[in-house]
């Protein structure tokens, strides 16, 4: 037990240390990419809390990401809020949206849950288009550089951006690690494994799943708000169906129900598309084939497969 706990913390702190050091070692291009990947990994980690740990396959997480993005963006652009307050509001918006969706969608399960979340997300996307006079619809809005200052740090600076993304990622990773190793994390997994059994151990499935979904929404909202602040753009395409599929892809690739899987998946997918676009113009094909290969040959993803092959302690 203690030996495993040591390994777990050593691995995750080691990954964080490596990412921190990467800033000083890697060329600028990869720094920029890593900042992006870390933010997207937070989104995928949130998705993983719902899907990988609790067994809730949502096809509407773009709604929560979008809630964070627009919750932050609208307050900055229309109400002139500062970055810190808007970021907080964006995170809250992600959680609140997940709460609202969860209260309704969690009355369903399985295929119905997927379709209900998909429909809610589609309604959210259309709502952004409907309010084009404020949101500028699909064209989106630029977050003014002057507004992108957090605690005195200019987020549009490459170095600061990297550290901001890293800080968010590190916090999300450590919270998630603690979460999945906590009693509540165990209950989430119990819900995924056997809901009826868990109910007969005295756990209210609805409340547990709702809590997991809200947490998931908070992660997605944080990622959305951070993405907008760090990269200065808020647009409707980030709330489209495609962005509900992306975290699913990342999580499946890296390993559902693993703490580091979403990051690994996001990084691999990013570079897969980046490199593929240099070789072939058909990068949709890359995504499609990746999904098929994963689901056919590695349904547990990379880290899931490693866990089955000896690294049983991997959280």
């Amino acid at each position: 037990m203690t030996g495993n706990a040591f390994k777990v913390w050593a691995l995750h702190l080691g990954v964080l240390a490596a990412l921190l050091a990467a800033q000083f070692v890697l060329p600028a291009y990869h720094n920029g990419n890593l900042a992006r990947i870390m933010v997207l990994a937070v989104y995928a980690m949130g998705f993983n809390i719902a899907f990988g740990y609790t067994g809730l396959l949502s096809l509407g997480h773009a709604l929560f990401f979008g809630a964070g993005l627009y919750g932050m963006g609208m307050l900055v652009a229309l109400a002139g809020w500062g970055a810190g307050a808007a970021l907080t509001a964006g995170i809250a918006a992600g959680g609140a949206m997940a709460l609202a969706v969860g209260l309704l969608a969690l009355r369903t399960a399985g295929v119905s849950f997927m379709i209900v979340t998909l429909m809610f997300a589609q309604a959210g996307y259309l709502t952004i288009l409907y309010y084009t006079p404020y949101t500028r619809g699909e064209e989106g809005i630029v977050i003014d550089r002057a507004a992108r200052v957090l605690l005195g740090f200019d987020l549009s600076d490459d170095g600061v951006r990297y550290f901001a993304a890293f800080a968010l990622f590190a916090a999300a990773l450590l919270v998630k690690l603690a979460l999945v190793r906590s009693p509540f994390g165990r209950v989430m997994v119990a819900m995924r494994e056997n809901e009826e059994r868990s109910r007969m151990l005295g756990y209210d499935p609805f409340r547990i799943k709702l809590a997991a979904l809200v947490l998931s929404g908070i992660y997605a909202g944080a990622a959305g708000a951070a993405y907008g602040l760090l990269f200065g753009y808020v647009g409707a395409s980030f709330a489209s169906i495609q962005y509900s599929i992306l975290p699913l892809l990342y999580v499946l690739l890296g390993g559902a129900g693993t703490v580091l899987g979403p990051f690994l998946g996001a990084a691999l997918m990013f570079y897969l598309i980046d490199l593929a676009s240099g070789i072939t113009t058909a990068h949709l094909l890359v995504v499609g084939v990746a999904l098929l290969v994963l689901v056919l040959f590695a349904p547990k993803g990379i880290l899931g497969a490693l866990r089955d092959r000896g690294l049983k302690w991997l959280p």
Partner: protein
């Protein structure tokens, strides 16, 4: 087919740079003795190769290739050869920004250009500003001139929507009718049309009596058409996306051969579509805005033939290799002109390398008149350095015998509006 070229007209030699005279063969390093470095100038091109912009992307790539060949045959820029790196942005703003980073940080490009779709431009511009990368967009959106973007983002190759629309109003009011019904997509691009046209037509003595905004996801339009008031004198339509042809056809079916209002449309509704497609017969006698006349006009300027040959387009606006492949002729000139503006700007700035990017932006800001030439085959333009926006001529064509025939050319003043921003007052 895009790489073939082109007899250079001697009279333009001076503009194309002093080295043009020494021949058209691809440059050898020895020929660049005057330059500090013979390393090529690298330009990044954000290409809509996939996604909803793909039909434009294909032709934007061909046009850029054609212009590039011409530039290099004339000795490159500042005596250095030029290369363009094409990178697909999926017509997606997130990927657009990533592509910008790739150009800036990995490929170390000297400038980036080529984006058309507004959301890609708006999503990429902040990164361009942060990376201090000159970002020349070919988008016709009003986002540049509105002051929302930054010092590094410019639109010197094509007039923006606001100006285009405003320039149409006087002619519509005086020639077609006063009571206008607008049909436009219910998103930012369509709203720009509405916001620009409603006051413009009022100023010209007309009015918009009905606005029909159609969701961008719509694939069938007939049911919107009854909302067109019966006292409408002119229908003003501008639609984009894959369903536009459906829209135009259904408009035709709705009115049939019977009595109908005048119809005025933006060619965006039919860009890359053959005007002689089945079901479009009713367009006969209707009018279109064209950024650049798709069919070769009788009074075409001296450079028109050269330009068409360079980009591989025949007299009807189709690809010379495949008559079914219709070009995005009304917009793609912007890519061509933007490359030549980059060349002129770099030469004026004495551009040596990425350290001179700011000088390049300043040089472009200093530009004003751009006379009609092979570098500006669409027509003469005036660049406004403060708003980073170029203003040029617009054309109105009428469909006659299945062809678009130019009936009116706007005057430059028609499209002018007061500055909404001053980028030169902003820091780099």
């Amino acid at each position: 087919m895009t790489s073939r070229l082109i007899g250079l007209t001697p009279s333009r030699r001076t503009v194309l740079g002093g080295l043009a005279a020494s021949g058209a063969a691809l440059a050898l390093p020895a020929r660049f003795a005057s330059a500090q470095s013979a390393a090529p100038i690298k330009l990044g091109f954000q290409l809509h190769r996939t996604g909803i912009g793909a039909a434009y992307g294909r032709w934007y790539e061909r046009t850029a290739q054609a212009a590039l060949t011409l530039v290099n045959e004339a000795g490159g820029i500042n005596g250095r050869p030029v290369e363009i790196l094409f990178e697909d942005d999926g017509t997606d703003p997130k990927r657009g920004a990533e592509v910008m980073e790739k150009f800036a940080s990995q490929s170390n490009c000297d400038a980036v250009f080529g984006a058309l779709f507004s959301h890609v431009v708006v999503g990429t511009a902040p990164r361009a500003g942060e990376l201090k990368m000159p970002y020349l967009v070919c988008s016709e959106g009003h986002h540049v001139a509105s002051g929302k973007l930054n010092r590094w983002t410019l639109q010197p190759g094509i007039t923006d929507v606001k100006s285009q629309v405003q320039a149409m109003a006087p002619w519509i009011s005086s020639t077609l009718g006063k009571k206008v019904t607008m049909i436009f997509p219910d998103y930012a691009f369509g709203h720009d049309h509405r916001d620009a046209f409603v006051p413009a037509i009022q100023a010209a003595g007309g009015e918009v009596i009905e606005q029909i905004a159609i969701p961008p996801t719509e694939t069938s339009f007939t049911r919107y058409l009854p909302r067109i008031p019966s006292d409408t004198e002119v229908i003003y339509h501008v639609m984009v996306g894959p369903a536009v042809l459906t829209f135009v056809k259904e408009l035709g079916e709705f009115y049939g051969s019977g009595d109908r209002p005048q119809i005025f449309g933006f060619i965006d509704s039919l860009e890359a579509v053959n005007i002689a497609s089945p079901g479009l017969e009713f367009l006969e006698g209707t009018h279109f805005w064209e950024g650049h006349c798709r069919y070769l006009q009788a009074d075409a300027g001296e450079h028109e033939a050269t330009y068409r040959a360079a980009v591989g387009v025949d007299d009807t606006g189709a690809s010379v290799a495949d008559a079914k492949d219709i070009s995005t002729y009304a917009h793609m000139f912007s890519v061509w002109e933007t490359l030549f503006i980059l060349k002129a700007g770099m030469e004026a700035a004495g551009y040596q390398g990425p350290a001179d990017r700011q000088k390049l932006v300043e040089a472009i800001e200093a530009m004003t008149d751009m006379p009609y030439s092979i570098e500006h085959p669409q027509g003469a333009k005036t660049f406004n350095g403060k708003t980073h926006q170029v203003f040029g001529l617009q054309y109105i064509s009428k469909v006659e015998g299945g062809k678009l025939v130019k009936v009116h050319t706007t005057s430059p003043e028609d499209g002018m509006y007061p500055d909404e921003a001053d980028y030169t007052a902003m820091s780099f």
